[in-house]
Structures are given as structure tokens and as C-alpha cells.
């Protein structure tokens, strides 16, 4: 049989490639696109208000609720705003760190820094959020640190969510920027200096444009991760994010949860289209 198979594939490069790719492509189509399609479909169903059973007919009721109830606009707005804020914060924090790692640090320091950036990713997400919960609590570490200055910690709320998310997703921003900066040849920086470019001009006109796609690539991670998270908001605030409402509806009103879950997807598609325009995918 193996001989016949070998014969079949011999000299047929298309068939070879097809057989080789069937698994991964099949997985992509069924596992990813299939589940997306199901999500879209489920969003058009509704539930029987008495039994809570699914009614598998087509209706746009869920989308109507989504648009009509002001609370969902608030929640979507809040989620997107925090996601944008976290992304901006991480970009501002990550750039100097990544720059130091890529261009200034010695080989050994660089290795140590890469490990330092990666280590937080080894520990459990929940442990990290719960420790932030403790630090942010009244009379907790942050209050204690700020007390001599006559200040108070932010307590639980949007600020806490912003802080925790910025902390959680920082490595996802540092690593792409680091990779992007590392690819810029030192000779370009020297050339800029030789041509009379001052450090700031060199940064603005040489380094930033070259590294910008990497920043955008990193921002896709931070933005998407913030957009989808629901555990952090639950643990360090009382505010609802898109994920929380999806979670709350998932067992009582699956179709509505599905309709709501489409919102971040739409936001993300928009974001990716902008990112593509900015050239984030050219180096991948």
C-alpha cells in the first residue's frame, strides 16, 4: 500500500502540498472559521423566555437590544477606551525598555532582561491579578506606599483595571518592539549621526518610522487581550466589560452573548485593517 501511495504522490507537487496542508488548513477552517460562523449564527437565535431553551429561528432581536439599551453602549465604550489606554501605556513603557535591550545593553544584560520580561509570563494569570487585588485593597501595599506623600491608592475601579491590564500585557508589547528594533542596523543610526542628525532627529526620522510597525504589532496583542478579558475587571472593579456581560449571559441567553461577542470581533477587524495600513504585517 505504501508503495502505491508513493506512486500516487510521485511527481504531483500539488497533491503533495495538499495532503501536507490538509490537516492544519482543515483545523483552521473548522476550528476557527467554523466556530466564528456558529457564533454569527447563534447571534440570530433567541431564547424562550420561560424555559430558557434555544429557539433556532432567525431574528435580529439581540442586535436591537444591543443598540437600544444605553447600558451596552456604555460598556462597549468603556471596554474600548480602557483597551486603547492600556495599549498606549504599554507602548510608552515598552519602547524605552525595548530600545535599551536592543541597542544599549551588553549581550549579557540583554539576555538577563529578556528573561526578566518573560518570567512574569510563567506565573499564573490569576495569581498576578489576585496579588494586584491585595495590593490595591484599602490599607494595602499601594496605600501604604503613598501614605507618606499624603495620597491614597486608586482603590478598585477603572483605574485599577487600567493598571493591572497594563502590567499584565506589557511583555507582549516589549517583545515585538525589541525584535523590531534589533532589526534596525546600527549603521543607519551612525549614518544619521554622520549626516548631522541630532539624537532626537535620528530617533524621530530614522528609528521611529522603522520600528513603528513593530509597535503596531505589539499593540494588536495588548488591545485584543484587554478587549477580551473579563476576570481582571471582575476582581479589581465593579465595572462591567464586554467579556463580563458575555459571561453573565452565556448560560441564560446564549444568543445574546453571541451577539455581544461579535462586537469585539468587529472592533478588532477594524483595528487590524488600520494596522495593515500602518504596515504592521509587512515583516511577519
Amino acid at each position: 500500500l505504501s508503495r502505491r501511495l508513493a506512486q500516487l504522490f510521485h511527481g504531483r507537487p500539488r497533491l503533495q502540498a495538499g495532503a501536507l496542508l490538509a490537516g492544519p488548513v482543515g483545523w483552521l477552517v473548522v476550528g476557527y472559521l467554523g466556530s466564528l460562523a456558529l457564533l454569527l449564527l447563534a447571534a440570530l437565535w433567541s431564547v424562550n423566555p420561560v424555559s430558557g431553551e434555544l429557539v433556532k429561528g432567525l431574528s435580529f432581536e439581540n442586535f436591537e437590544t444591543l443598540f437600544d439599551e444605553p447600558v451596552y453602549r456604555t460598556i462597549v465604550g468603556r471596554t474600548v477606551a480602557i483597551a486603547a489606554l492600556v495599549t498606549l501605556t504599554d507602548a510608552l513603557l515598552a519602547f524605552p525598555i525595548a530600545f535599551y535591550m536592543a541597542k544599549v545593553a551588553s549581550r549579557r544584560t540583554r539576555a538577563a532582561l529578556v528573561v526578566a520580561v518573560l518570567i512574569p509570563l510563567w506565573s499564573s494569570y490569576l495569581v498576578k491579578v489576585l496579588s494586584w487585588r491585595n495590593m490595591l485593597s484599602g490599607g494595602g501595599l499601594i496605600d501604604w506606599l503613598l501614605e507618606p506623600l499624603g495620597l491614597h491608592g486608586p482603590g478598585y475601579g477603572n483605574t485599577a483595571v487600567w493598571l493591572v491590564m497594563s502590567y499584565l500585557w506589557l511583555p507582549y508589547m516589549i517583545l515585538p518592539i525589541f525584535a523590531g528594533l534589533e532589526r534596525i542596523p546600527d549603521s543607519l543610526i551612525s549614518a544619521s549621526e554622520d549626516l548631522g542628525g541630532r539624537p532626537f532627529t535620528t530617533f524621530r526620522r530614522v528609528i521611529l518610522p522603522l520600528a513603528f510597525p513593530a509597535v503596531v504589532a505589539g499593540s494588536i496583542f495588548t488591545f485584543a487581550l484587554t478587549l477580551g478579558d473579563y476576570i481582571t475587571p471582575k476582581l479589581v472593579s465593579n465595572n462591567q466589560f464586554i467579556g463580563n456581560v458575555v459571561f453573565n449571559n452565556i448560560s441564560t441567553n446564549l444568543p445574546f452573548a453571541a451577539a455581544l461577542a461579535l462586537v469585539p470581533i468587529v472592533v478588532m477587524i477594524g483595528y487590524l485593517l488600520v494596522a495593515r495600513k500602518l504596515g504592521a504585517f509587512e515583516h511577519i
Binding site: 423566555p49 430558557g52 433556532k56 471582575k234
Partner: protein, 395 residues
């Protein structure tokens, strides 16, 4: 350098086409939703050797499960669920034989055809279950019993004894905006639509002209009043909790000072030596308005693969000794009258008011809000409205 630029439009159309095709296939697979409940078992047969249960944490523990397994040969596989919603969706998977459903799940399970009526003549211990637990609207449908009562309790008002003085005797510390303002940012509220019923219990006692009878059967006006109360409470709430651990940590740290809780958190915090207090047992753990509570029912799945074992379990869990064990372990009043003779703490039943029907009249057991008000009117708010309103309250 780009050598080859794929045509993005073409790729996009291919993906859209693929999605539409997948949708068409999936739509074809969709089965019709409605199913009917099963029939009640007529005769008890031999055990099937296995039993798959869904339960609240603390209901299925080795202490009383091991003897059951030895006696019946039914090996128990337990899955604990955190919320009633989770229980309903687990039951709909059809892979479980039974569930310890609270009153806010039972009607949904019945309407969904997920559970069968119980032939109580096959459950000998049922005879001595407290009479006021039988034939209740959350465990009896169309005149047939749909489960075996397991135990009951009230949701407590808990506070920090060091900071909240004098000891509150009313829910007004969390519900009346004027009184509650004193604890702004320190109030702990259960993160569940059932909190609307808590507001309704408060309004029933304090706003007679609303005419609330049953806090789970609210018409538009009554419902809006309860929602309004909780909306006013929103800026005062320090934390909405849904995981017990979350509430324990904020009461332990002093971030929360007063709020609704369950026995579990209260006793755990007390054990840790935290200065928490609740309405004393002498007042029945209840503030003056009464309280929301729960009465749990073991229900049998309409697609149970091991019905005989499930019947044996339903009889076992209200066996006087086993029922006493589970009630003491969990901290609730037993459903079995004879259990009171078997508790390790001889005063247990007295402390939990297990034998006082008058006490339980002031506890409003969780049940599923339905459009049918139960008094002939059909303009009551259903559970979806409650879920929606709860989202809006939290904002």
C-alpha cells in the same frame, strides 16, 4: 521587499464564502429545540453501578457518599457547579442523572423538559420530610412532585462587628440610600439578578402601597421600584461578589463592611477570627424584613442513564443520618424531620430553626421569575428581564 502581493479582496471573499457555507451546514444540523420531560419511574430496579450528579459544593462529600456507594454499589461521579445558571446548562448536556437544583433553576429545568417527575412512593424517606417543603411552587409542577427536598437556608446579612455599630436589624444598612450612605464604598452585594428580589423583600416591608406579595413575582411598577432602589445603591456598593472567595478576601481586609452573604463565608471568616457578625441565631439569622433564601431539590434528569441509582441517591440523601451530616457540613436546615436526632450538635436544628414553619414563612426561597404572576395576572417580569435589568443596574 514584497515579491508577491496576494489579492486581499479575493481572500476575503473566499473566507466569506466559506463562512456562509459553514453556516448553511450548521443550520441544517440544528435540531428542533423543544423536548418533553420524561415519565416517572414505576418500579425500582437494580442499581446501574454508576451515578453522575451535579451539586453545590459541600453537598456530595465522602462522609455520606462512601456509605452510599458501599450500600448500593452505585459509584458517584460528582460535578460541582457555582451558579444555578451553570447547573441548568450542565443538565441540558444530558450527561447527568440528577442535580441539587435551587428554586431559581427548577422551573427552567421543568419547562425545558430536562427533568422527570419523581415517584415518591419509591422514596420511603420522603414521608418524613418537613411538610412545608412539599408541594411548593419551585418543586412541584402540574401537581406532580419534581424532586426531593434536600435542605434550606436564608441569605444572611453580614457586617464587620468592629465598624458597624449598633448591630443592624434591618436591610436598610444596604438598601436605604440614607442609612447605607454611611458605608459608602464598603457595601458588598451579591452579583446576581436574585439581588432584585432582595430589594423587593425590603420594599415589601417598607413601601406598602406597591403591594408586593411575592418578591419573585413583580409587575412593571414593583419591578421598577426594586430596580430603582438598586440603582441608587450602585454608587454605594464597594463590591459585587459572585465567588465566595472574593467576598471573604474583602471582608477580611476591611474593604467590605456590610452586605449579603451565605453561611459558608460567614462561618469561614469567623473561623479565621475576623470580627464579622450576622443576625444572631436567636433572631433566626434574619433581619426584620425577612430575607431571600434557598430551598434545594434533588431532581432527576429526563435522560438519566442510571435512574435506579438516582432514586437510591434521592432516598439516601434524606436518610436521617445522611441528611443530618450534609446539613451540618454545609450549615443549613435539614429537610428530613428525623435528621434532628442525628446531628452532632444537639441544638443544631433549634439554631437553624429547622422545625419552625413560622420562621420559614419569612424566608423567600429563590425561584425563577416568570411572566405568570401566580395570581392570574401574566404581566410579571420574567428571568430574562431580570438579567437585563441587573446588567443595567451595574452599568
Amino acid at each position: 521587499v514584497r515579491t508577491h502581493q496576494a489579492n486581499p479582496a479575493r481572500t476575503a471573499w473566499l473566507i466569506v464564502g466559506g463562512l456562509l457555507a459553514a453556516m448553511a451546514v450548521l443550520a441544517g444540523c440544528g435540531s428542533s429545540g423543544s423536548s418533553s420531560g420524561g415519565e416517572e419511574l414505576q418500579k425500582l430496579g437494580k442499581g446501574e453501578g454508576q451515578l453522575n450528579l451535579i451539586s453545590w459544593a459541600g453537598y456530595v462529600e465522602d462522609e455520606w457518599v462512601k456509605p452510599f456507594e458501599e450500600k448500593t454499589g452505585c459509584k458517584v461521579n460528582n460535578k460541582t457547579a457555582g451558579t444555578s445558571d451553570e447547573m441548568v446548562s450542565l443538565m441540558r448536556s444530558g450527561e447527568y442523572d440528577g442535580v441539587s437544583a435551587s428554586g431559581n433553576a427548577t422551573a427552567r429545568l421543568f419547562e425545558g423538559g430536562d427533568v422527570s417527575p419523581v415517584n415518591v412512593s419509591l422514596v420511603p424517606n420522603y414521608k418524613t420530610v418537613f411538610a412545608d417543603l412539599k408541594g411548593q411552587p419551585y418543586n412541584t409542577f402540574e401537581g406532580k412532585p419534581y424532586g426531593i427536598p434536600h435542605g434550606r437556608g436564608a441569605n444572611l446579612l453580614m457586617w464587620n462587628g468592629d465598624s458597624v455599630k449598633p448591630a443592624p436589624r434591618s436591610w436598610n444598612v444596604t438598601m436605604d440610600p440614607k442609612v447605607a450612605a454611611k458605608y459608602k464604598g464598603k457595601i458588598s452585594q451579591y452579583d446576581d439578578p436574585m439581588s432584585i428580589a432582595e430589594a423587593a423583600v425590603y420594599l415589601k416591608a417598607h413601601d406598602a402601597k406597591l403591594g408586593i406579595e411575592d418578591p419573585y413575582e413583580l409587575n412593571e411598577e414593583q419591578f421598577q421600584a426594586a430596580v430603582q432602589l438598586l440603582t441608587e445603591q450602585r454608587p454605594l456598593v464597594g463590591e459585587y461578589w459572585s465567588e465566595a472567595e472574593k467576598q471573604i478576601s474583602s471582608f477580611a481586609s476591611g474593604d467590605s463592611l456590610v452586605g449579603t452573604t451565605w453561611q459558608y463565608q460567614y462561618f469561614l471568616l469567623k473561623e479565621e477570627g475576623k470580627p464579622v457578625a450576622a443576625s444572631p441565631a436567636s433572631q433566626g439569622f434574619l433581619p426584620e424584613e425577612g430575607a431571600t433564601g434557598w430551598s434545594d431539590t434533588w431532581m432527576i434528569s429526563s435522560s438519566a442513564a442510571h435512574p435506579n441509582c438516582m432514586y437510591m441517591w434521592m432516598n439516601w440523601i434524606i436518610e436521617p443520618k445522611a441528611n443530618a451530616e450534609v446539613a451540618e457540613y454545609f450549615g443549613e436546615a435539614p429537610a428530613q424531620e428525623l435528621a434532628c436526632e442525628h446531628t452532632k450538635n444537639p441544638n443544631f436544628c433549634a439554631e437553624y430553626h429547622a422545625e419552625e414553619p413560622a420562621f420559614w414563612k419569612r424566608v423567600y426561597y429563590w425561584k425563577t421569575p416568570l411572566a405568570d404572576c401566580g395570581n392570574g395576572e401574566t404581566d410579571c417580569k420574567n428571568y430574562n428581564d431580570w438579567v437585563q435589568a441587573w446588567t443595567s443596574i451595574k452599568g
